[in-house]
Subunit: 328 residues, 2 copies
Amino acid sequence: MRPLLRVAVSGSTGNVAYALVPRIAAGEMFGDDRPIDLRLYDIPPVIGKAKGVVMELEDGAYPLLHKVAASADRAEAFGDADWVLLVGSKPRGPGMERKDLIRDNGPIFVGDGKAIAANASKDVRVVVVGNPCNTNCLIALANAKGVPAERFTALTRLDQNRARSILAKQAGTLVAEVTRAVIWGNHSSTLFPDFVNARVRGKKATEVIDRAWLETEFISLVQKRGAAVIEARGASSAFSAAQAVLDHVRSLLEPTPGEDWMSLAVLSDGKRYGIPEGIVCSFPMRSRGQGDWQIQDRAEITPSARQKIDASVKELLDEREVVKDLIP
Amino acid sequence: MRPLLRVAVSGSTGNVAYALVPRIAAGEMFGDDRPIDLRLYDIPPVIGKAKGVVMELEDGAYPLLHKVAASADRAEAFGDADWVLLVGSKPRGPGMERKDLIRDNGPIFVGDGKAIAANASKDVRVVVVGNPCNTNCLIALANAKGVPAERFTALTRLDQNRARSILAKQAGTLVAEVTRAVIWGNHSSTLFPDFVNARVRGKKATEVIDRAWLETEFISLVQKRGAAVIEARGASSAFSAAQAVLDHVRSLLEPTPGEDWMSLAVLSDGKRYGIPEGIVCSFPMRSRGQGDWQIQDRAEITPSARQKIDASVKELLDEREVVKDLIP
């Protein structure tokens, strides 16, 4: 058995965290030889409910779950944490614009970033899931003084999983046969699902699937999939988001297999693909394992892809502008 | 890769199934070398919502999920199914008595049993999760003509998991150190959590934990745990129930390790522990793997345990009486 791993999850009473925490407890995220000390963080009004989630975790009789507790105090929940999964955010209310949502969420991630810097393990890794996750991630990392920015990643894996699944269906093949279906830009309706670099059974997707469909239908299907799920289920995606968080973390912990790429949003250094510095943008990635990612330089960018990536980047720059006072 | 396994889940839009299906898709139930054909069954009014669950399963990009669909037609959903997980049942409404609940659910399980007999694989295994699960299981197996009764089991694993976790906490040890904490009788507030045969770090639980506490507090904590979770969470147990279903099936598929026992409810043949025949009762069990269970004969029954088991058995006999017209 490896040493106890401290994992903190914020927003523990929400539907995504509810789908996520049993899988962390069951060893699906960190392996079946890794005992877990799981800390649920939530705000005081719902901490009683979070304690109900703790009860269900106890009721799971998970052999790996050596400790579990809920706290409304970040210092306690994030104390010496090896991983902090920031799932908690304020959802969009009726009539709210994206701008309002960004403003409302900003202070939460200021608090998260500061608490991580003050309390978490020196080797902490942070995954931002709560939306708008790219800009929330930017705020958190900017407020986590002393924690290297590359430790913070934001989730675009749900979009990637959707893109892979949609391409597989269209090509009449299994999802395992689709690789390099990565996501560029913002986790929002401006994201660009990259079919140019995607492979189906090792071939370029553009050689296997009709290009006009890829340029129009495919992009739209991925961008609007979240809304389509809400329409069908009457509730937003929860277990598929939790699955993406699992995949995201596992992909960071293990070297990326074969020639595949994956997607994560990270702080841009301004040196890759003409993406300006100082925004959290999704790129094609490989992992070297143990939490370390590497942006792939070999992606082909067509003029049409360039336009779409630029539009998503522009949105990220606009979002940053809305919260500039929260970024030291 | 082993051949495709057909798995049907009823009540697919409920919270327990919602927590269960992603884990089946991820290979947690049947292993990571077993491709899955997953069929969600639900009633017509919610089949659109079930299709939303299918969308999220697609969005999980699960390599093992080779097929997935939702249907409001049992013949389609259960067709050639290797496993049928009957999660769907009508929940108790305000002011309803247990008797009303049993009457309301009976016809659902008549339909399930008949559809399984008419459509499922010859080797089908059925797990009844929807409550009242023991009597629902009895109705289903009695209506599944030609399917051996031993293929039907009902879930008491959540109670067992709770009992193990509570004993571990009281003994100040890890849950992995608690064995043979089995459940007798009905999955209801009359269940008997067996501390007499339970072991903590290989010792009798009664030698490690105060007997008076075991006789009173412990029994009550296990019996009332479901209500306590509802009180804290404001919703009934979902992921811990799904976890128990996973554990239940995996425990049937793999030989029980070491000297441990587990709990399942099965049709009593009237020859074990003085439990009358013709009710579905939870017993101490071992698995020989591949879906086959074996009641353990070596459990010690104290006079006080006998009384409690008899009370739960009486409840099962009363429940059977309520639905006797549904049992051919």
